[in-house]
């Protein structure tokens, strides 16, 4: 079990836990948090892949992908939070009502 595999398994575990949370919970903030953690786990995997073979310099291309991904994740989160605020302002709810599936 080398260093890369530890990071890879951690990122996979984070990804699947937050995927479960995204599907299961109805509160919109929890969904947004779950998507953020899924994104962060993918970034962790990319950074782990970049240094996989302990060459002198890490691979620069996954680093650039992670930088791009962080900015996109931040902007998508901002938009999702604005939508959540608007939904709350208009309807007073913090979840999308779909009464058949919720308990």
């Amino acid at each position: 079990m080398n260093q890369f595999l530890i990071f890879a398994f951690t990122s996979i575990a984070l990804f699947c836990i937050s995927l479960y949370a995204l599907v299961t919970y109805a509160h919109l903030l929890r969904k947004i948090l779950a998507i953020n953690i899924m994104g962060s786990s993918v970034f962790l995997f990319l950074v782990a892949v970049a240094y996989r073979n302990r060459t002198e310099t890490p691979d620069a291309v996954p680093h650039a992908m992670v930088l791009t991904g962080i900015v996109v994740a931040v902007s998508a989160t901002a938009f999702a939070l604005t939508l959540t605020r608007r939904i709350h302002a208009e309807t007073g709810l913090t979840y999308l009502p779909d009464e058949d599936d919720l308990e």
């Binding site: 595999l5 599907v23 109805a26 996989r52 073979n53 310099t57 620069a60 930088l67 599936d101």
Partner: protein, 240 residues
């Protein structure tokens, strides 16, 4: 099942048990498949490290990540700014306004926050400018500087000062679009002289990258501050 807490029946906002079990099993299946894929990666692959190091002296900068971001994969960076603008457009559409001049201020920030922001914002501007300049040789560059400057904008807003909320619609649009626009000109320019898109002329590569980085950092800062301020409730929404 609704969990009761004290006298209030609180709905737990979670899916029913069969749906939870199905989601659990599917996530577990995805986890197993991903673990098998991670174990299956080839052992001695250095990725694109050799290609990047071999072409680094032709890229105009000396740091490999900046070279990848703004030369080899400049298309990704360019469209990433497009995604930022798209998110801002979404926020403006939700708020149903063309600029952010209608944003309400936060509640009274207090003397400590205003004093601290007056102390910190000039330092933040210097730090962002230094990061922007440093990008050619060390970790830094356009998005790092833009993020630091955006933090300055958010700090100003939290302290009650107006930054992006003071811009009229025309100036706001110009500030948001200047980064993308300059990048568009730099990207499409080579096609008029017989080259491919984004194929910088070799002797001008460093200068073009610095120009693009500066306007990009400025635009990204404005956009990031607006992403924050745009989600705040507007003054015209407040109850009288």
């Amino acid at each position: 099942m609704a969990t009761e807490s004290s006298n209030v029946t609180a709905v737990r906002l979670v899916a029913r048990l069969p749906a939870r079990l199905l989601a659990l099993s599917l996530s577990g299946l995805i986890a197993v498949l991903l673990v098998l894929a991670a174990l299956d990666l080839p052992d001695d692959a250095g990725g694109l490290t050799t290609q990047v190091t071999d072409n680094l002296d032709q890229s105009g900068v000396t740091h490999p990540v900046t070279a990848v971001l703004l030369n080899f994969r400049a298309y990704d960076t360019w469209l990433e700014v497009g995604v930022l603008i798209l998110a801002l457009l979404g926020i403006l559409a939700v708020q149903q306004s063309a600029d952010l001049s209608d944003t309400g201020a936060l509640t009274d920030p207090g003397p400590v926050l205003t004093w601290l922001s007056r102390l910190l914002v000039p330092v933040i501007f210097l730090t962002g400018g230094y990061l922007l300049w440093l990008g050619t040789a060390a970790p830094g560059g356009a998005f790092q500087a833009g993020a630091v400057w955006g933090a300055a904008g958010v700090l100003l807003y939290m302290s009650g000062y107006r930054s992006v909320t003071a811009m009229g619609a025309l100036l706001f649009r110009a500030a948001v679009l200047v980064g993308f626009g300059i990048f568009l000109i730099v990207a499409a320019g080579p096609t008029f002289t017989g080259r491919q898109m984004l194929q910088y002329p070799l002797d001008l590569a460093g200068t073009l990258i610095l120009l693009v980085e500066t306007t990009l950092a400025f635009s990204v800062a404005i956009i990031l501050t607006s992403l924050f301020c745009g989600s705040q409730p507007r003054r015209s929404d407040a109850s009288p």
